[in-house]
Symmetry: D2
Subunit: 345 residues, 4 copies
C-alpha cells in the first residue's frame, strides 16, 4: 500500500506538533504539507515551531517549508490543530475545496451534521457525512474529535449504556498540557488547584451526550451530565471521579464486566492506533494515576479503577486518559484511520 499523503493545519502549535510527531512514524499516513499562520509561512518548520515535546522533531518535517492555510494547495486529507479563533472559517473553506478535514478544534463539534467521533463508541456517526456533503454543498468533509476531558468520560461511560444511564456527576483533575503553551502560569498551579476551566464543564455536559447519542448524534443520549472541572499540577493525563446512576439496577460486578469486555470498531479492524483493550479496568485501589497510567496503550487506552457502589448514585469510579494523545492528536489520527478503513478517505 502506498502511504496516504496528509497535511497539518496549524502545524506549529502544540496540537500541530503532536500531529507532526505522531504521524512521523505512522504506518499509513505521511505528512507532506505543513500549514500555519502568516507569521510562519515561507520558513522551515524547525525555525518557526517552538518544539516542546520530549521527542525529537522528525527530520523530514524539520526541513519542510511551512505554507499558508490556503484550501486546495495541500493533500486531500488534512489534520487540523488550528486554534478555535480561526478554525471555523479555515476548516469550512477546506471542506468546501474538497479536503477531508480531521479536526481537533471545537468549532464544528456540536454542528448536527458533523460527526463528533470516538471510533470505539460511535463509528456509525460517519454515516452523517453524506448528508453533511449534500446539505453544506461540500465536496470534502469535516470530522471532529471531542474535548480532551470529554473523551475520557465518554469512553468510560460507553460500556454502561447497556444499563441505561440516567445521570452522571463527574469531577475532573486535569493536566496543564490541556491548556496548550504557554497555557497555565506556573504561579497559578504550583502547589495549587484551580477549580475552574473556562467552557470545559459545558463541553463535557453537551459533547458527551452527542457522542453517546443516536442518528449520528442528532438525538443526544437521554441522560444528564454534571461536570466539575479542575486544573491540577500534573503534566499529562486527565483524571476524573465519576458517579453514575442507571435506569436499571446492575450489580457492581455487572458494571465491571461491561467495562472489561468493552471493545469497538477500531479493535475489530486492528487500526494502527487502536488500544487493545480500549479500556483497562484496574483492581489496585490506588490506580489509575496519571503519571503511571496515562501512557497505557500508547496513550490511547482509557483506564478505570476503584469501581464500587455509590451511596447516592449507583456506581462510582475513577477514570483517566492521556489528554494530548487520546484527548487530541491521537484521537484525530484514530478517526482518520477508521475513515480510511471504511473507505472514506
Amino acid at each position: 500500500m502506498d502511504a496516504i499523503e496528509v497535511g497539518v493545519l496549524g502545524a506549529t502549535g502544540m496540537v500541530g506538533q503532536q500531529f507532526v510527531s505522531r504521524l512521523a512514524r505512522h504506518p499509513w499516513f505521511r505528512v507532506t504539507w505543513l500549514a500555519a499562520s502568516e507569521r510562519s509561512q515561507g520558513k522551515r518548520y524547525r525555525e518557526v515551531a517552538p518544539w516542546r515535546l520530549a521527542t525529537q522533531m522528525p527530520g523530514a518535517s524539520a526541513e519542510r517549508v511551512v505554507e499558508s492555510c490556503e484550501p486546495g494547495k495541500g493533500p486531500k486529507v488534512v489534520f487540523s490543530g488550528l486554534d478555535a479563533s480561526v478554525a471555523g472559517d479555515i476548516e469550512g473553506a477546506f471542506a468546501a475545496a474538497g479536503h477531508i478535514v480531521v479536526s481537533n478544534a471545537r468549532n464544528f463539534r456540536m454542528d448536527p451534521l458533523v460527526p463528533l467521533l470516538i471510533p470505539e463508541i460511535n463509528a456509525d456517526h460517519l454515516t452523517l457525512l453524506d448528508e453533511q456533503r449534500r446539505t453544506k454543498g461540500w465536496p470534502g468533509a469535516i470530522v471532529t474529535n471531542p474535548n480532551c476531558s470529554t473523551v475520557v468520560l465518554a469512553m468510560a461511560l460507553a460500556p454502561l449504556r447497556v444499563f441505561n444511564l440516567r445521570a452522571v456527576v463527574v469531577s475532573t483533575m486535569q493536566a496543564v498540557s490541556g491548556a496548550g503553551y504557554p497555557g497555565v502560569a506556573s504561579l497559578d498551579i504550583l502547589g495549587n488547584v484551580v477549580p475552574f476551566i473556562g467552557g470545559e464543564e459545558e463541553k463535557m455536559e453537551s459533547e458527551t451526550l452527542k457522542i453517546l447519542g443516536s442518528d449520528g448524534g442528532r438525538s443526544p443520549y437521554a441522560a444528564v451530565v454534571s461536570a466539575h472541572a479542575n486544573r491540577v499540577a500534573v503534566l499529562d493525563g486527565h483524571t476524573m471521579t465519576v458517579s453514575v446512576d442507571f435506569h436499571t439496577r446492575p450489580s457492581i460486578e455487572d458494571v465491571g464486566h461491561a467495562i472489561r469486555n468493552f471493545s469497538g470498531r477500531p479493535q475489530e479492524l486492528w487500526l494502527p492506533s487502536a488500544p487493545q483493550p480500549p479500556i483497562v479496568l484496574m483492581d489496585e485501589p490506588t490506580r489509575p494515576q496519571p503519571r503511571l497510567d496515562a501512557d497505557l496503550g500508547g496513550g490511547m487506552a482509557v483506564s478505570v479503577g476503584r469501581l464500587r457502589s455509590c451511596p447516592v448514585m449507583q456506581a462510582k469510579f475513577v477514570a483517566l486518559g492521556h489528554n494530548t494523545i487520546r484527548g487530541a492528536a491521537g484521537a484525530a489520527i484514530l478517526n482518520a484511520e477508521l475513515m480510511h478503513a471504511e473507505g472514506l478517505l
Copy 2:
C-alpha cells in the same frame, strides 16, 4: 483572667507541633506540659520534636522536658495529637483520671457518647458530656473534632440544612500535609494524582451525618453522602467539589444567601479562634484556591465558590479549608475555647 494551663499529648508529632505552635500565642491557654512516647521522655522538646513548621519553635516549649503520657500528671485540660494506634487507650485513661481531653484523633469520633464537635454547627452536642460522664464513669471527658476533609464539607453543608439536604456527592483534592510526616512519598505525588486515601471516604460519609445530626449526634442527619477522596500535589488546604440535592427546591440565590449569612456560636461569643465570618462565599469564578485562600480567617474560615445549578443534583460548588488548622489543631483549640466559654473546662 489567669491563663488556663493545658498539656499536649503526642506533642512531638505533626499535630502536636501544630498545637504547640498555635497555643504559644493563645490569649487564654498556656502550654505547661508536653507528653509523648517513651522515646522522647526526659529530653527537651527541641531535642526530640523534628520541627517541620515554617514558624519558629516557641521558646518556652523548646526547653521544656517532655514527659510520659501518664494520666493525672499534667494539667486538667489536655489536647491530644496522638496517633490513632495509641489514642484510644491513652485518651480513655486520661478521661478516667479526670482530664478534659480535647482530641484530634479518630478513635472516639463515632462513639455515641462523645461529641464530634464543630462549634459553628453543633455546639449543643456538648450536652452529651453529662451522659458521657455518667455512663462511662469518667470524672473527666473527651471531646473530638472531625477528620480534616469532613470539617470542610460539614461547614459548607451546615447552612444548607434549612433546605433539607437529601444527598451529597463530593470529590476531594487533598493536600499532602493531611497525611502527616513523612506521609506521602514525593515519588507518588510529584506531577501526579493519587485517587485513594485509606479510610477517608468512609469518614466523610459517616462523620458528616453525625455532626449535622441531632440528639448530640446520636440521630444522624437523614441524608446520604458519597465521597471520592484524592490526593494532589498541594501542601496545605483541602479543596473539594460538591453537588447537593435537597428535599425542598431553593433557588441558587437562596443557597448563596444561606451560606453568606451563616454564623454560629463561636462568632456570637467572639471566641479567639472564631473566623468572622466562618464561611467566605466568593464570586470570582476561579476561587477558592488552596494557595490563595486556605489561610483565610487565620486558616479557620472555610471558603466556598463557584456556586451554581447542578443539572443532576440541585446545586454545586467548590469548598476549601485549611486541613491542619481548621481540619486539625485549630479545630480542637476552637472546641476548647467553646467549652471554656460555656463553663465546661
Copy 3:
C-alpha cells in the same frame, strides 16, 4: 509624626501589587497615589489590578482611581515597580520633575551616578545623590535596589569583605515568582529545571561588585563573580550555592563569626523593615530551605547555612532570600526608610 505620602508607579503589576500590599501597613508611609499604563487610567485599582497575592487587596487602594504616570502629579516620593521597557524614560522624567524615585527597575542600576543600594551594605552610597543631582540637573533623585538574586548573594558576601574576597562561583535555584506574571509557563517548570534565566547571570556578576564597591559604587569591588542561574519549581525564595575564595586565609570559624555578627545601618537605626539580625546563620545541615526559611525576618532576612570548607575555593555555603520581598518591593521600601532616617526624603 505625620505619615509620608507616597505613590506607586506601575501599581498594577506584580511588583506594584507588592508595594501596595506592604505599604498598606507601613508605620511611616501612606500610599495616596497609584499610577499605571494608559489601559488602567481612570479606573479603580480593584478593577484593573489582577491581584495575585495571598493577602487581601488593601481597602484604601482598592477604591483608588489609577492615574497616568505623569511627573509632577503624585507625591514627592514614588516607588517604581515599572517594567524595564518603560522605566528608563518615566523614572528619569519623574526625577527631573523633582520626585524621589525609589525604583526596583533595572534601568538605572548600573548608572555610575545612581546608588544601587542595600542599606546593610552600602548606606554610604547615598552620598552619590548630590553629584547625581548636579550632573543630571535633577531636582529629584533616583535610588535603585538590585536584582532579586543579586541581593541575596551580596548580603551573604558583605560580611566576608573583611577577608578580601578574590572570587565567587554561585549557582542559583530561583523561584518562579521572580519572573512576574504570567512569567514561567507551568509546562516549562513542573517537575523540571530550566538552567537559564535571560540576563540574570550578567546582573549578578556586575551588580554585586558595584554594591560591594567604594566611592558610591564607582570603584567596583575587586573580585570576580561567576554565576549559573537556574529556575526551579519553587514559588518564593531564591536559593543558591556559593563557593568563595579570599586573598587572606580565614578559618571556617572566622567566616561563620563574620556572618553571624554582621549588622548594618538599618539595624542600627531600627528601621521598620530591618530584619534583626540581617543574616541568619543556620547549623542544621538541611537548611536553609525556601519553603521554611524565605519568610525569616518578615521576608527581609537572608539565611545562610551549610558553611564548610571548599576544596577548590576556600569556603562554601548555601544562601537564601525571599525574592519578591528582600529581592524587590521590600528592598525598595527599606531603601526609602533609610533615606527618610537620613533626612533625604
Copy 4:
C-alpha cells in the same frame, strides 16, 4: 548466540525493579533468578515487589518465585541492586563463590581492587580484575558503577582530560528518584529545595577522581572537585552546573569540540546499551532540561549545554543525565555488556 543467564540481587527494591524491567528486553541477557531479603523468599515476584515503574512488570519475572541471596544458587552473572547496609557482605560472598557481581551498591566502589567503571571512560580499569581475584582469592569478581550524580559529572569531564583538568566546582539539582522509595517526603520537596543529600558530595568528590584516574583507578586523577548537592522537585534526571579550570588554556571552541567528538569503547563495540553519541552537546540556551532531555539515548546519554567562559574558572556548562538509568541500572548493564564483549563474563 544463546542468551546469557543472569540473576538480580535485591530484586524487589527500586534498583532491582529497574534491572528486571530493563533486562526483560535485553538482546544478550535473560533474567532467570531473582533474589531478595528473607521477607520475600518463596513468594512470586509480583506478590512482593511493590512495582513503582510506569512500565508494566515483565510477565516472566512476575511469576518467578523469589529466592534467598545465597551464593552458588543463581547463575554466574548477577546484578546487584542491594541496599548498602547488606551489599558488602553478600556481594563479597557471591564473588567468593565464583559469581561475577555487577553492582550498583556503593560498598566496593572505592576498593582499590574493584573497578569503578564507566565504559566510555575507563574500560581499561577492567584489567584490575586479575589482581582482584589474586589478592582477594575470589574465583568470581566484583565490578561497580558510580553514584548517580558522579556518572553525569564524570562523563561531562572525561572529554576534558586532554586539557589537564585542575579544578571543578559543581552544584547539583537532583531528582527525587535518586533517593529510592519512599525516599524524599513530599512535605520536604513540594515547592522546595533541600540543599543537602547525605554523603553525596563526598562521593562526587572522590569517585570522580578514581574514575578518571589511571592504573585501574589506583592513581586518582590529579584534580580537585568541590560539590554542592541539592534535591529539587524533579522526578528523573540530575542536572548540574559545572565550572572547570584547566592547566592548559583551551578556547571554548576547543572545549566544545572535545565534548562533541567524545566517544568510547561502548560506542566502538556498538554495545546494545551504548548511546550514540555518549554526550549530546546542545546549542539551545535553555537546554538541557531534565523533563525534555533525561531520556536521550534511551536514558544512557549525558547532555551538556550552555557551554561558555567562566570568569572565575575557565569554562562553565550545564550537564544532565538520567539518574536511575545512566546513574544506576543502565550503568551496571552497560558494564556487563562491556565485560561480555571483552570476554570477561
